[in-house]
Each structure stands twice: as structure tokens, then as C-alpha cells.
């Protein structure tokens, strides 16, 4: 198809190209742009899968709006995406803009103001669906165009190295016997709080929730003995796991990790707790864009997900390669929202 055809021709030139697009090498860049445009229109005409007919391409530089401060998970995602788009489409300029605030609400509100403008993308995750459920925001996820899901992040339950709890049933058992287990959570509506809520519903138990601002504070409290257990993303705690300061007890997903050291961590389901809830990472575009514009972005992101830089991004951040194209992503988000309303609403 169209994507595969372009995908084959571009990577060979793309390395040299990226260096030369900067300034003096305008001629080759321009030449490629023409070739690319020709290729696009040519293919669009000949393939049936093109859909709505006219192909679209960005007319201006594209902005990736990161709704959190630099350095966080969404920022890392946004920057990897920007690089990925530039690799997949060497002739377009991508800039990353951080618009942090309101647990992400400010960034999404900004995207809301760019309705029908296909030059804005947002690296989205659970907050994009969860925030409107708990807070009065002027938008919900359905005001935007879900382009594609590119990965999922998983919650691990960890305990300090000298904790009496060896497995998940020890923790749940202690709670059922009327004991108190303090769990550290980052924010009251984050992924970890959602998973904890689902676990409480599933097992009919109640944790003592202690809420912190960030994963770092939680790790500090966990090692310092102020909390008994914590629910964290692997990337937040892998350093401490490798050093043996904390022990992972369960992973809340359908399957285990494939690589060491997390491959030995059993899923919650294996341990009799029926909770599997992951955090999606996906790309949203502004709302009300045309089918052709949406298709262009889906194709671009898909191309990135077939590249080595994508695999590196996943490996560095302990993400899982779960991809959902537009249609599936929308269905998934609908179910996701319903589930969140059950826990948080």
C-alpha cells in the first residue's frame, strides 16, 4: 500500500536528508518534497484504500502540544513522536511545545481551541480520558480525533525489600483479616489510583490511601517505611528494583513482561486478583479534521511505529507495543471511559 511504498523509499535518504534540510541543502529537500508529493498523489489515485480521495499534507510546521512539563512521561513521548514524524516525513517541520498545568487540562484546552486545524497533535495518555470524568473541563476525549494508540504502560505493585508481603495474596489477605495496608498513590485520579480502586472492588477490601505528588516522592516514602506498598510504572522504579531496594509483587496486565528482570513478576490474575488495567499512550489530533487529514496522521504514526527509533522509545521506557489504529482506538476509548466512570465517577 501507499505507506509501505513510501516507507521503503524514504529511510535510505532520510538520514542524510535530516542533516541537510537545516539550511543550505534546500535544493535536495525541495526535490524530495516534489517527489514525495508526486508519489502521494499518484498512489492516492491508484489505491482503493485511500478512502476519501484527495490526499492531504501539512502546509505549515506541525506543533506537538505536550500537556505536561518537560522531563515527564508525556514529554518524552511527545519528543519521540516529533522525531518519529520527522523521520517518517522528512519534508515537514515538527516543533514540541509544553503547555503544562491543571494535570493536563491546560494542554487539552489549547488543542480544543485549534478545532479543525490538522497541524496540532497531542501525545495523550490516561489523563485525557480520566480528567473530564473527575473534573469540570470544557472538553472530553471525544472533542478530539484519536489518531492511533502506539503503546501501553503497565502498573506494578512494589513493596520494600524487607516487607513481610511476598505475593499479592499476602497483601489482600492481610486486608481481609482486618489489617491496615498503606498504599502510596500519585494523585487521586491517576492510573495507580484507578488500579487500586479496581482491586478494592474485585476483592472487597479497603486500602489506606496516601496520596503524593509524584512517583519520586512515593519511592522515597516506600523505602523510608512511611507506606507499605506502592503502585508505579516500571520506568519510575526500575532503578530501585535492579538495586534490590524494592520488590515487584504483581503486574496489572493481561500478560507478564517478556524481558528480565520483570519477566518473573506474575500478573495479578495469576494470583487470583482479577484486575488488568493499563495506561494507553496514543496520538490525538484536533477535533473536526477531515478524513484525509486524519488518515495522513494515522499513516505517519504507523510508519513511525515500524521504525527502530520507536522500538528504542518503548525499550527505554518499559512500554508495551500495543497498537490500535483509529477505529479500534475509538472503540477502546469508549470502553475505557465507561470503566473509569465506574471507578472514579
Amino acid at each position: 500500500m501507499l505507506g509501505r511504498l513510501l516507507g521503503r523509499t524514504i529511510p535510505e535518504t532520510s538520514v542524510g536528508r535530516r542533516a541537510s534540510t537545516k539550511r543550505p541543502g534546500a535544493a535536495p529537500a525541495w526535490a524530495l518534497a516534489v517527489a514525495l508529493a508526486a508519489g502521494l498523489t499518484g498512489c492516492g489515485g491508484s489505491t482503493a484504500g485511500g478512502g476519501s480521495g484527495d490526499a492531504w499534507e501539512p502546509e505549515r510546521p506541525v506543533t506537538i502540544v505536550v500537556p505536561f512539563a518537560p522531563g515527564g512521561g508525556s514529554d518524552v513521548f511527545g519528543r519521540a513522536l516529533a522525531k518519529g514524524i520527522e523521520e517518517a516525513r522528512p519534508d515537514i517541520d515538527v516543533k514540541v511545545e509544553n503547555r503544562p498545568g491543571g494535570s493536563g487540562a491546560i494542554g487539552y484546552s489549547f488543542l480544543l481551541s485549534k478545532q479543525a486545524d490538522p497541524h496540532y497533535l497531542i501525545p495523550s495518555e490516561t489523563a485525557g480520558v480520566a480528567l473530564p470524568v473527575t473534573t469540570d473541563t470544557p472538553w472530553t476525549w471525544s472533542d478530539f480525533t484519536p489518531v492511533m494508540q502506539i503503546a501501553e504502560d503497565v502498573t506494578l505493585m512494589v513493596v520494600p525489600k524487607d516487607s513481610p508481603y511476598q505475593e499479592l495474596q499476602d497483601v489482600v489477605g492481610a486486608l481481609k483479616k482486618g489489617g491496615q495496608v498503606r498504599v502510596g498513590l500519585a494523585g487521586a485520579t491517576g492510573l495507580d489510583a484507578i488500579v487500586t480502586g479496581l482491586m478494592e472492588q474485585d476483592q472487597g477490601v479497603k486500602y489506606r490511601r496516601v496520596t503524593f505528588d509524584s512517583g519520586g516522592e512515593i519511592v522515597n516514602a516506600l523505602i523510608g517505611g512511611d507506606i507499605d506498598t506502592a503502585m508505579l510504572n516500571p520506568s519510575e522504579v526500575i532503578g530501585q528494583i535492579k538495586a534490590g531496594e524494592v520488590r515487584p509483587v504483581a503486574v496489572f496486565a493481561d500478560s507478564r513482561y517478556e524481558d528480565a528482570p520483570l519477566d518473573e513478576v506474575p500478573t495479578a490474575e495469576e494470583q487470583g486478583v482479577n484486575v488488568s488495567f493499563t495506561q494507553y499512550r496514543g496520538v490525538f489530533a484536533a477535533g473536526d479534521i477531515t478524513d484525509a487529514e486524519s488518515a495522513y496522521w494515522e499513516e505517519t504514526v504507523r510508519k513511525w511505529t515500524q521504525s527502530p527509533s520507536y522500538s528504542k522509545y518503548l525499550d527505554d521506557n518499559f512500554l508495551r507495543p500495543v497498537k490500535r489504529p483509529h477505529d479500534e482506538f475509538v472503540t477502546y476509548l469508549k470502553a475505557y471511559e465507561k470503566q473509569l466512570q465506574g471507578v472514579l465517577g
Partner: protein
């Protein structure tokens, strides 16, 4: 431990390669300029310039980022002193005495004091960071939510006297106002939005930087314009140099500030800010002329400046040994580690010695470059205040409002700054001090957070404070701080000789309250034991 020397050597070899020297230099220059912009502190500065470094190899990038970090700190002090507009929360205190000094023609000395105190504390505290980091890392772990809450209470107790000569009631009212403002926005504990009136902009709360820019820069310009006829300073450049007496005066405060800064700075959260407030309070209490504080005392600049730079180093203790960020800026730096594919954590020092030690050695280098750059510049920058005010004021407003915008790339910050400018003007007119408001705003949300966490830890039962010796000790200190003036007065009235009152307690308390420095050393001694 015998590897330490080799490691330090390795670090210096890495940091002193010509390319890394250049990146460090670029970092400190950029950082200084960013830091000088009001509202842009080190966390924002590092975050803003992070993308610039993404093309470099990890060690060069981290060295450049560390340079930016230190540059921002030095830069933030410059705007704090010259135009009373701190770049970040840790340099708010610097403005208390730095700005009055500048207004009386001693801007050069104030700037030089800040540079020297920062340099001395910044370079000396690298030594404990390099050699004793693993030992100190335990300290941060001992500070859970109950201890942090007690520390906030101590901070609040110390600020009550900050009124700068005005009434204590006004100071308390302003502190309460600050705490009230801090409750706006999404409450992290419950996820519920408070006092936002359906405004998305308010979900994030009222950030203290917008408030600071309004209360200090905008209100100051309005007050000066309102008063009219203010004259620019006329000090000649050669009168802006430090005298030997000035140097002697700041040596004690620098040492005390450095110690306090390093100890308090290790605690995650508001380490550097709290440290600078404590350092200021200590100087005010040990000073023979406490009445000069708030009106232009060099020790009032030296103490906090030494403290915030020592705290910047201390923040790396938990960052490098535990992989837990010790401050907002180190959190951003940890994020950078991950972008570069490095895994911060307890094994970092062992697995990446070249990088970790190279980074620490670059702190040295950065401070040295900043001293060499900023000390000669101090009188030059100080002379900026000789510009005619009809030119200077619009410039200050412009720079302040750009800073307000740049905080989060939105106009909201500008409106916030202007609104608090008006509030600040009214406060100024009626003698309400701004400092307690700022501290209330910063500490208010932290106090609430840590109190809720403590309560959650105990399942709603606050008696768990009684099982936490460090917390109890801090509470006792806070009580002493609050009662000390009355106790001293009462004891003096009872008997002319202040020695050996029948019950040992009050006399001891009064003595330790007189010297805040002693408090800190007893504090650390007890924690070691």
C-alpha cells in the same frame, strides 16, 4: 571508600575536556540570562533549554544542563536584587535585603555578596556531596510526611517575625492570605477542584511566581510612580566594590547558610526555599543589629544565597544515590537522564561512574566560571540602576511581564501578575508585608499535603506524630521560636542576671532560640544518633 579519589579524578578528567568546558560555559551563560528573567527559575530554565541539549552525547548534555542549573541560580539572584523580582522561590528571600541595598546605592556590594556567598557555599558543599552522599542519603529517608509537616510548621513559626518592622498582626494576616490562595486549584489529595469557578486556568492553582512578579516588580513600579520624583542612584562604579569590612561581615552568614542549606536542601520538596528562609531567620536572630534586616543588611543576602546554592548541591544527594529527585530542577534533570537512555537509581553511581562524577566535577567548574563571570560584572550590573527611571520602569515592567508569560506560555500569567500588582500596591500603601504572603502561599499547600498524608498514614489518627521523634523535636523548636521573645522578656524582668533560673528548661530554650545556628547543629546531631 578508597575509590572516591580515583572517581573524583575521573570526574575532573571528564569535565575538563575542551568540549565539555565549552558546553559548561555555554550552559552557565545561557542559564544566567534565563535566570535573570523574572519568573524563570532554574527548574523552568533547565526545562526550557533541555531540548537544546538533546543532540549532544549524554555527559556533555548533562554538564551543560548542570551549567544552566547553576547559571539560573546566579541569574535569579541578580533580578532579585536589582528589581526585586525573584526568578524562583529559593531567591525570594534575597530580595528582602538585596533590593533595599540596591535602592541605597549598594547594588554592587549586594550582587558581589550574592556571588561570593553562592560560590563559597556552592563549591564547599560539593565535597560532602562527593564523599558522603551515601551516608547523607539516609537523612532524606527519615523525613516522611509527619517530619515534613513539622518542618513546615517550623518554617511558618520562623516567618511570623518577618514583618520587617510592621506589626505582627499584619504579618499573620498576610501569611493567612497566602495560605488561602494556596488552596485554589485541583487538590492533589482528592482530585477535587477548589475555588476554580469552572475556569480551566484556575485548575492549576495560583502559581506563586505570578504572585511574586505582581507583588514585587509590578507593585514596586506602581509605588515608585505613585510616589513620584524618585531619583536614580548616583553611586559611582568604584564605590560599588566590596570593602574588606563587607567581606568580614558576610563570612559568618555564608558559613551558617551553607550548613543549613545543605542539611535542609536534601529534603525533597521545598528544600532550597525553606533553607533560604531558615538561613535568613538565623541571621536575623544572631545579628547584633537585627533592626537592619529588611532595610539592607549584607548578611541578609549572604545567608540565604549561601543556603540556596548549598541546597542546590544537596538536592543531588537523593537524586544520585536513590534516584529520587530532591528538587523541582533535579526532577527535570532526572527526566533528562531518561531521555538520554540513562537509568537513574541506587546503582547509578556504580554503573555510570564517568557520568556521575563528571557531572559532580562540572558543578565545581560551573561555580568557578560563574564567579569569574559575575564578580567583575556586579558593579556594572549595579550601575544599571543609574538609568533614568522613565526608561528603567517600563523596562522592568516589560521584563517582568515577559517572565509572567513565559512561565507556562500563556497570557494567564500576565493577568495574574497585573492583578497581584494592584493588590501589592494596596498592601504597600497600608504597610502589609509581602514576604509572609509568599511563604504562606509556598508552605500552605505543602503543609496541607503533608498533614493529609500524615492523617492518611494513621487512618485519620494524628497521634502518630507522637511516635516520630524528629517531628516532635521540630514541633518543640517551633514552639520555642514562637515563645522565645516573651520568655526572654519574662526572664529579664524577673531577675537582672539571666543565668541559672530555677527550672532549667526556659533558660535553655531562650538560649538556643537566640542562636538559630545551634538549633540546626543539635538537630543534625540528634539525627545522626
Amino acid at each position: 571508600m578508597d575509590g572516591v579519589f580515583d572517581n573524583v579524578l575521573l570526574g575532573f578528567q571528564t569535565a575538563f575536556s575542551p568540549a565539555n568546558l565549552l558546553y559548561c560555559f555555554g550552559g552557565v551563560v545561557l542559564g544566567t540570562f534565563i535566570g535573570m528573567l523574572p519568573g524563570l527559575g532554574s527548574a523552568t530554565g533547565v526545562a526550557l533549554l533541555l531540548p537544546l541539549t538533546l543532540t549532544l552525547d549524554p555527559i556533555s548534555a548533562l554538564i551543560m544542563l548542570a551549567g544552566i542549573y547553576y547559571g539560573c541560580q546566579y541569574g535569579a539572584s541578580i533580578s532579585s536584587i536589582l528589581i526585586a523580582t525573584p526568578g524562583d522561590s529559593a531567591s525570594v528571600v534575597t530580595a528582602f535585603d538585596g533590593y533595599p541595598l540596591a535602592r541605597t546605592g549598594r547594588a554592587g556590594q549586594a550582587l558581589a555578596t550574592s556571588v561570593i556567598a553562592s560560590f563559597v557555599a556552592g563549591t564547599i558543599t560539593i565535597i560532602p556531596l562527593m564523599t558522603l552522599a551515601p551516608i547523607f542519603s539516609g537523612l532524606a529517608l527519615n523525613f516522611g510526611p509527619p517530619e515534613m509537616f513539622a518542618l513546615m510548621v517550623l518554617g511558618m513559626a520562623s516567618v511570623v517575625g518577618f514583618g520587617g518592622g510592621t506589626s505582627q498582626a499584619k504579618g499573620l494576616a498576610m501569611a493567612a492570605f497566602g495560605v488561602a490562595i494556596s488552596t485554589v486549584g485541583i487538590d492533589a489529595q482528592t482530585g477535587i477542584a477548589r475555588y476554580t469557578f469552572g475556569q480551566v486556568q484556575l485548575l492549576d492553582g495560583i502559581g506563586f511566581l505570578g504572585v511574586v512578579i505582581g507583588l514585587f516588580a509590578v507593585a514596586e513600579v506602581m509605588a515608585q510612580v505613585g510616589r513620584g520624583g524618585a531619583e536614580p542612584i548616583r553611586t559611582r562604579m568604584r564605590d560599588m566594590l566590596m570593602s574588606r569590612r563587607d567581606l568580614r561581615e558576610i563570612s559568618g552568614p555564608t558559613a551558617r547558610g551553607g550548613v543549613v542549606g545543605f542539611l535542609v536542601g536534601m529534603l525533597p520538596g521545598a528544600g532550597a526555599t525553606l533553607a533560604s528562609f531558615f538561613a535568613y531567620d538565623i541571621e536575623r536572630r544572631v545579628s547584633k543589629k537585627p533592626e537592619r534586616f529588611g532595610k539592607g543588611a549584607l548578611p541578609g543576602v549572604a545567608g540565604p544565597e549561601a543556603a540556596n546554592n548549598a541546597a542546590a548541591n544537596a538536592a543531588f544527594v537523593p537524586t544520585l544515590t536513590l534516584g529520587i529527585p530532591g528538587s523541582g530542577t533535579t526532577a527535570v534533570l532526572l527526566g533528562a537522564f531518561i531521555i538520554f537512555g540513562l537509568q537513574p537509581g541506587p546503582l547509578f553511581l556504580r554503573e555510570q561512574p564517568e557520568l556521575a562524577w563528571g557531572l559532580m566535577a562540572s558543578f565545581y567548574l560551573g561555580n568557578l566560571l560563574l564567579l569569574a563571570m559575575n564578580l567583575p560584572l556586579a558593579p556594572v550590573l549595579g550601575s544599571l540602576l543609574r538609568i533614568r527611571y522613565s526608561l528603567l520602569y517600563p523596562l522592568i515592567l516589560l521584563v517582568a511581564l515577559i517572565g509572567a508569560y513565559a512561565m507556562q506560555n500563556r497570557m494567564w500569567g500576565v493577568w495574574l501578575g497585573l492583578a497581584f500588582g494592584v493588590i501589592g500596591y494596596v498592601m504597600h500603601k497600608y504597610g502589609y508585608p509581602a514576604a509572609p504572603l509568599i511563604l504562606g502561599l509556598i508552605l500552605g499547600s505543602l503543609m496541607e499535603k503533608t498533614l493529609t498524608q500524615t492523617s492518611d498514614m494513621g487512618g485519620g489518627d494524628l497521634t502518630i506524630f507522637f511516635n516520630r521523634p524528629i517531628a516532635l523535636l521540630l514541633f518543640a523548636l517551633a514552639l520555642v521560636l514562637l515563645l522565645a521573645p516573651y520568655l526572654v522578656k519574662a526572664v529579664r524582668r524577673m531577675r537582672p542576671a539571666p543565668t541559672s533560673t530555677p527550672p532549667d528548661g526556659p533558660a535553655d530554650d531562650a538560649a538556643s532560640a537566640r542562636s538559630g545556628d545551634e538549633e540546626m547543629t543539635t538537630l543534625s546531631r540528634r539525627e545522626d544518633g
